[in-house]
Symmetry: D2
Subunit: 167 residues, 4 copies
């Protein structure tokens, strides 16, 4: 007897969901692009997508992170993919450290999912594969790599995630 | 001291690389789309892409599979992502079973990478994440799932990969 | 008092609407892509899209062309954009010659609209602009040019439309 | 003996060429997307693309418009397609009014050409068709319509171009 895998997707905002409004000539965080990505990816597992925030990650507060941690902790899924802005992704990952016995992968994008050239689809694909294969714990999937939480930092000059020496 | 991860990509043909020629009103296998996908994915690991075949997977022969197995066995990389047509992907995976101490993930696409709506980018993202996280062995990443070789079959009516009961 | 412009779009099949089915590893003519193109184009005129055929243009018969001509002649619009396969587009244009007092632009695509790289959107944009600016008559909009019917031929080796000397 | 049509494309900036930089979480005008659009459109006429400005159209000054007008007036082409921001496109069109015996079509985009969903390709297709069919004069091609200069205004609330009553 087989069980179908279930993944809970939580969107929190960030570049991955950014949209451009001509009227204001600026960007805002739009609705989550994860469903479109999973549809194109023809995934056959069960999933749900909930939107907790629609924020630039620089606007994420300690309260937001606590709310996210509490949400995951009380929820009954085993696998989580969290889409998040890149600037504070590692801080949010650290805030989730107390959670036990769940596999949680954070990902996002350096170029919005609504662009023709974007890393969003590739990154969500990575997160989906990683979350079902890793041991329980907190991970970040960006720039083609799966990092354990605490062993990764965003190099802002290079605009990419790298293994950190203090890991 | 850190080492940069290296992944060897091997393209063998299949729907992922299909192209349409108006002159003949039919499809042919074009050049590998993996480099474009990795560029959009902004990967920061080292990699190489070699093209061993440009075939529909229904045209892959036992000799082709033996050639692929021999190539991987003599090669010095640890991580392999092989793009392959979906119809005989599980047969090629089985043919690679003798290879030890390497992580090998086969993937492909149900809709060509050159289409606006394609699973190719998502699938290569999955394969890249899986190959660096799994234990050595042969795997298939399709339809949002990472299957161990021998536990998966293509359901042709549903046009998707499923965990097989005989696994 | 202003009237809103109305354009009748008629799809007949051809490469522009081609879709790829993995199950059969071949192409078929899918549903018309014109509505998607007009939505992305943010057009503000009134329009309707009807599908008369779903054929490769090599399969279009004299009866099909007569049916198309009769449809347009009895219809009450002034502006028509007809999407058509490229191989016999000029023959269908010639068959519409008896129609008076209407502007009719035929267009299509050398690469399917469902591809990332396609001329379909550009060509429909050309046809929409041409149909509202030209004098009544039959025209073909392809390869960046608006040709009068009778002055254009498809160069099959170059896979493009050219002004014909016998025009 | 046939002459090949020649179109001079002039890019001045605007939403059509906008690009998103994650580092700063804001938009800037990038390089002209016209060549990519014409390549995908498989155009067979001769053309050249020059970049005069890279500005939001709200930043265009009277001096900029005078420079543009002078450039076109002294240049020897007959057909011009000018890509421009939408907010002051009609003002720039008005500034070109003194130019005689040339067909000039201004166009742009409400959604950047680098987005998956954009009107840029459709609009450039419209401008290319219009410029070769219209009588000499100044025109704006937006929202599926070809407007004569002086008969069009941008409706900012609806974010689209409309025929103006004062035209």
């Amino acid at each position: 007897m087989q069980q179908t895998m279930f993944i809970r997707f939580i969107s929190t905002g960030g570049t991955i969901d950014k949209i451009y409004f001509d009227e204001m000539s600026n960007f805002e965080v739009g609705d989550s692009q994860v469903r479109h990505i999973l549809t194109d990816g023809r995934v056959s597992f069960d999933y749900d997508v909930i939107s907790l925030f629609r924020k630039d990650s620089l606007e994420m507060t300690a309260d937001d992170r606590e709310r996210l941690r509490a949400y995951v902790e009380q929820d009954d899924a085993r696998y989580y993919v969290i889409t998040h802005g890149t600037d504070t992704m590692t801080e949010t990952a650290a805030a989730l450290r107390p959670i036990k016995d769940k596999a949680i992968v954070l990902t996002g994008a350096l170029s919005p999912a609504r662009f023709k050239s974007t890393d969003a689809v590739f990154n969500v694909g990575m997160a989906v594969a990683a979350v079902q294969v890793v041991s329980p714990g907190i991970y970040i999937a960006m720039n083609g790599q799966v990092f354990a939480e605490g062993e990764v930092a965003k190099n802002r000059e290079q605009n990419r995630f790298e293994r950190s020496s203090s890991g």
